[in-house]
């Protein structure tokens, strides 16, 4: 009898792989494709709860030099259909935040805090349950499309993969859907390109393919990690316009990661500036760009070379630099992580990590002297 019981369970999961992979969420109709369910989400989830809520997320990595606090208490909320940008320099924790959401942290990383997506807690979720969410509820687009795509499989097969895995679609149905997706991301000659291999496409076309893959299951959240950094500037404009359009059309939320202030200005309505594993400033994109509340945000802005800046004696004046360099995670200072490079630093800055100070509507900065900095230069 015991054997029969096990067999029966196996047969059941073979027919419906999702039953094994994911604990069904209460509001989700079993077996109905997501794009036909659409509106039902809001019936059961209170409209006030955000799609994604991260509370006091901390990640500690094991490094050769000892434990390093890669994220030191991240809080963020993202509503359905909203757009949010994470900006900062390498090592600030922006990609680490994305990896934590996707459950792709390096082995040995210790995570604490909470990441709630669609009412489901993701911290501590078993691997197979996380696999069921990735590519289904969470779509991902990475910086380098050539490494994100498998060179040995056709583009059509790669877009069909999440549909076959998460939606249990048949070969021909998945292929038809893949074609529809390629047309939606406006890949020219989509029907012929379905059987092309990644090396036969240009960089911009490949990025369209990875976007089509990310969209395949109609995700609630799209995470785009530097999606245009490897692309030429004219192609970058097209891809950003495409992402913006798809977000508006499908109602999914966008978490955009970039180091480029201009890219952010074009794509997101809300911005988090990260430094040393913390969010140092958060607010509506326009507010952040106008007020530059945190000294680090000011430093980032001033350091950019600007087109058409005035020349003195035929030369451009030197750029304003932020002195020093990004501290390594292992030896971040105990207080404000920016203290060692900040022109406004006082002794109190080094005592404890500063709490967020409200500087405007929905706009806060973690700086104890934010009131004394004056208007943005």
């Amino acid at each position: 009898m015991f054997f029969f019981g096990v067999r029966a369970a196996r047969a059941d999961t073979a027919r419906n792989p999702r039953a094994r992979r994911t604990p069904m969420l209460p509001w989700r109709a079993v077996g109905t494709p997501r794009h036909r369910r659409g509106a039902r989400h809001n019936d059961t989830v209170p409209s006030t709860s955000p799609l994604l809520a991260i509370t006091d997320l901390r990640v500690t990595l094991n490094t050769a030099r000892g434990p390093a606090d890669a994220l030191r208490g991240i809080d963020l909320q993202l509503a359905r259909g909203a757009t949010l940008g994470l900006i900062g320099e390498s090592g600030c924790g922006k990609s680490m935040t994305a990896m934590a959401i996707m459950g792709l942290l390096p082995p040995g990383a210790a995570v604490s805090g909470s990441i709630v997506l669609n009412g489901q807690e993701l911290v501590g979720l078993p691997d197979d349950a996380m696999c069921a969410l990735r590519g289904d509820r969470i779509g991902m687009v990475f910086q380098e499309p050539m490494t994100a795509l498998n060179p040995l499989h056709t583009v059509g097969d790669q877009i069909a993969e999440p549909l076959r895995l998460h939606r249990a679609m048949g070969r021909s149905a998945a292929r038809a859907e893949a074609l529809r997706l390629l047309e939606r991301v406006r890949l020219p000659q989509a029907a012929q390109r379905l059987d092309a291999y990644p090396h036969q496409l240009s960089g911009g076309q490949r990025q369209r393919v990875t976007i089509a893959m990310a969209l395949a299951c109609g995700p609630d959240l799209l995470i785009a990690d530097e999606p245009t950094t490897a692309l030429d500037v004219t192609i970058q404009g097209e891809i950003l316009a495409l992402i913006r359009e798809l977000v508006e059309e499908s109602g999914m939320a966008l978490l955009m990661i970039s180091h480029d202030l201009g890219v952010m200005a074009r794509t997101v309505t809300r911005l988090l500036v990260m430094y040393g594993g913390t969010v140092v400033e958060s607010g509506p994109t326009g507010e952040v760009f106008t007020h530059l509340a945190h000294p680090y945000t000011r430093g980032l802005f001033a350091a950019r070379p600007r087109l058409g800046a005035a020349r003195v004696d035929g030369r451009k004046p030197l750029l304003a630099t932020i002195p020093g360099r990004v501290p390594e995670l292992v030896d971040l200072p105990a207080g404000c992580p920016f203290a060692d490079r900040c022109a406004w630093v006082v002794e109190a800055c080094r005592a404890a990590p500063p709490a967020p100070v409200v500087v405007g509507p929905d706009h806060a900065a973690r700086c104890i002297r934010v009131g004394e900095l004056g208007a943005a230069p």
């Binding site: 320099e89 390498s90 960089g203 030429d232 500037v233 004219t234 192609i235 970058q236 404009g237 950003l240 180091h259 480029d260 202030l261 201009g262 890219v263 952010m264 200005a265 074009r266 994109t285 326009g286 760009f289 106008t290 430093g299 980032l300 350091a303 950019r304 070379p305 600007r306 087109l307 058409g308 800046a309 020349r311 035929g314 030369r315 451009k316 030197l318 750029l319 304003a320 630099t321 932020i322 360099r325 990004v326």
Partner: protein, 263 residues
Amino acid sequence: MSDVLLEVRDLVKHYRLPREQLLQPAPVVEALRGVSFTLRAGRSLGIVGESGSGKSTLARLVMALEVPSEGSVRLLGRDLHALPRTELRAARRDFQMVFQDPYGSLDPRQRVGRIVAEPLVGVDAADARRRVGEALDAVGLRASDAAKYPHEFSGGQRQRIAIARALITRPRLIVADEPVSALDVSVQAQVLNLLAQLQQQFGVTYLFISHDLAVIDHVCDEVAVMRAGHIVEHGTTEQVLQQPAHEYTRALLAAIPSVGAFR
């Protein structure tokens, strides 16, 4: 003009691709299709264009790392591609290169002192050590850093090491291929300032390749816009970027995402 440093004439470069079909001739890529410009000493010329426009091929030909299919590169009046090998090697002290990737362009197993001293030929050890110290000092590093390995440095510091290596022969021309593209904004600003200071201090001439028009605008006196192996527009930076004559330059400028709407 007497102070012409670099003169590039009708440069053409073809690359033969692997044969696709047995009986048909191998396909050929025309990476450069006739590029000409002159660069005066102490000026800096920016080359902008998208991937595949031929900018890096141009850099490799100017550096005499490859042989052009047609045309000539003259530095200080000498045709680099006509020089005998030994003379070319001696002439290399006048032109040095800085590459994009500060992680890939430094040998991880060599100490910084040896990396920076590599372009020096026929200089005795004590003299070499002194000049390494000077070069490191000029780029804002310490002479004692010569004993360290590249992995002990951050990305921006590695690019400073690469610049020190280019400076050590006291070259007239530095060809920089996307030297700040791999760097973070705040580090990029430090390296751009360094390049500007070195130009004032030593009077070096830059051939500066970048896809970033704002960086070119900051560093260069002149800009050449490349597309599909041609220079489609060439002029002073102000002229090209403020009154672009070519449609492609206008498209490039329009595509730059700016924060102008907010500030």
